[in-house]
């Protein structure tokens, strides 16, 4: 099938949806939008439709399934669900298979030779995909069971080990953050009035009294120059050292919170 024809057919299917689907949308808008959102991809949708039609996966009624598939895509669009390119690629493939099925068999072909079913590749992909879909289900069940099992609470020795383990992904993520930080720093070097440490501690006090909790990140964001930042940082250290204020971090890389004890 020439590509231009395929595109034409696809477009035709893609754009005249409104009249046809309005009814269904009105009928069960909520239910459908929930269902559609659940499809993990075009193969998932296809499997659902095959089951819905109670069709045999080895003998897919391709015309009917293609129509249903396109109807769903139109429906997604009418519900303002962004239809990913992958869904459209599958639509094109379905239309291609459908048209191949309509072609008459070559009368001069060797009758001994069994022509390959145009659906074969699709069936293979569906079967392969469904294995992993079942595996995903199995993982889901295992995770659910695992969530019923709890490790011991913190013991003292954990505190000696307030460190984190790292992967290559952490390495690159952290490197990018440093690069970003460096970019920001260059734009920060503007002369400003100096703030004394005493003033800074006063200011910090006021903020903690105001909220009982203070995000360090947001406190530091109030300052533009490096000097101010350094003073702010020393003020934080000073307050933590001398007074009943502690620093809390819920998890690694999380924002650090100043808390009154």
């Amino acid at each position: 099938m020439p590509l231009s024809l395929m595109q034409e057919e696809q477009e035709q299917y893609t754009f005249d949806f409104l009249t046809e689907t309005a009814e269904i949308v009105a009928e069960s808008r909520d239910e459908l939008s929930i269902r559609i959102g659940e499809f993990a991809g075009p193969l998932d949708l296809l499997l659902y439709l095959i089951r819905q039609e109670q069709a045999n996966i080895f003998d897919i009624p391709i015309a009917r399934i293609t129509d249903e598939y396109l109807r769903y895509i139109r429906l997604m669009k009418s519900l303002d669900i962004a239809v990913a390119a992958d869904f459209l690629v599958m639509a094109a493939q379905l239309i291609e298979v459908k048209s191949k099925m309509l072609l008459p068999r070559d009368p001069f072909a060797d009758p001994e030779e069994v022509a390959e079913d145009p659906r074969q590749e699709l069936v293979d992909r569906l079967l392969e995909y469904e294995k992993y879909k079942s595996a995903a289900q199995m993982l889901y069940e295992k995770a659910t069971i695992e969530q019923a099992v709890f490790p011991r609470g913190k013991i003292e020795s954990d505190d000696n080990n307030a460190e984190i383990s790292a992967t290559v992904f952490d390495l690159i993520t952290i490197f990018q953050k440093i690069v970003e930080r460096q970019k920001e720093k260059i734009t920060m070097e503007i002369e400003r009035d100096e703030v004394s440490l005493a003033d800074m501690i006063k200011r910090l006090h006021a903020r903690i009294l105001e909220h009982a909790e203070l995000s360090l990140a947001s406190f530091f964001e109030e300052f533009d120059t490096r000097r101010e930042l350094v003073t702010a940082f020393i003020a934080v250290l000073e307050v933590v050292r001398t007074e009943s204020v502690k620093l809390v971090q819920k998890k690694t890389f999380d924002d650090i919170i100043l808390k009154r004890v």
Partner: protein, 190 residues
């Protein structure tokens, strides 16, 4: 005097019975913040791995037999003490935790493909799932359930992914061979 002390130590070590070994292994599993291997326990106690493994099996049975609120179990290639599944309701109520956010279907599917096909590249995952998996992969990397496994030596040198130790812990698996074979799922499909 120091000589005498050494002698005593050696004697004690030789005379270590299964009961003592069980107690020592139990203490080490308890303080370890992740599953601890029989190898590590053997090294710390200067015992052979086989005796430690026997003690660990015995310890597991002891916990089962006394119908403890805890269990000794093998996970991610190591040993761990954890609460028993049946008690989750009360434990959760006490800790005031909810079951943590579940992975999306897309993330679970992607993880299943990575677990069975590792090391695997993004295009290979796309081939099987029929849909882009970038955001799922990002989530899995952030949750440390997968790790990078170097570049594949093909055109474009795409990055390869595989599952991590966290993956084994999260799903309560002893090791990767603990996963049911993917062919087993074929029967379900047909």
């Amino acid at each position: 005097m120091s000589e005498e002390a050494t002698e005593t130590a050696v004697e004690t070590k030789q005379a270590r019975g299964t009961g003592e070994l069980m107690a020592l292994a139990e203490a080490l599993i308890f303080v370890a913040d992740e599953p601890i291997t029989a190898r590590t326990i053997a090294d710390v106690l200067e015992e052979d791995k086989a005796s430690v493994e026997a003690a660990l099996q015995a310890l597991r049975e002891e916990y089962d037999n006394r119908e403890s609120g805890l269990q000794v179990r093998e996970v991610a290639g190591g040993w761990q003490i954890a609460t028993r599944t049946e008690l989750h309701e009360y434990v959760r109520q006490f800790l005031k935790t909810r079951p943590s956010a579940k992975l999306s279907i897309a993330a679970l599917e992607t993880l299943a493909v990575i677990a069975y096909k590792q090391p695997v590249t993004v295009p290979e995952i796309l081939e099987i799932r029929g849909v882009q998996s970038a955001s799922a992969i990002k989530t899995l990397l952030e949750k440390r359930l997968i790790v990078t496994k170097g570049h594949k030596e093909t055109v474009g040198r795409p990055m390869q992914y595989g599952t991590s130790k966290e993956f084994l812990i999260h799903f309560g698996l002893k090791d990767l061979s603990d996963l049911p074979s993917v062919e087993d799922f074929e029967d379900l499909v047909q």
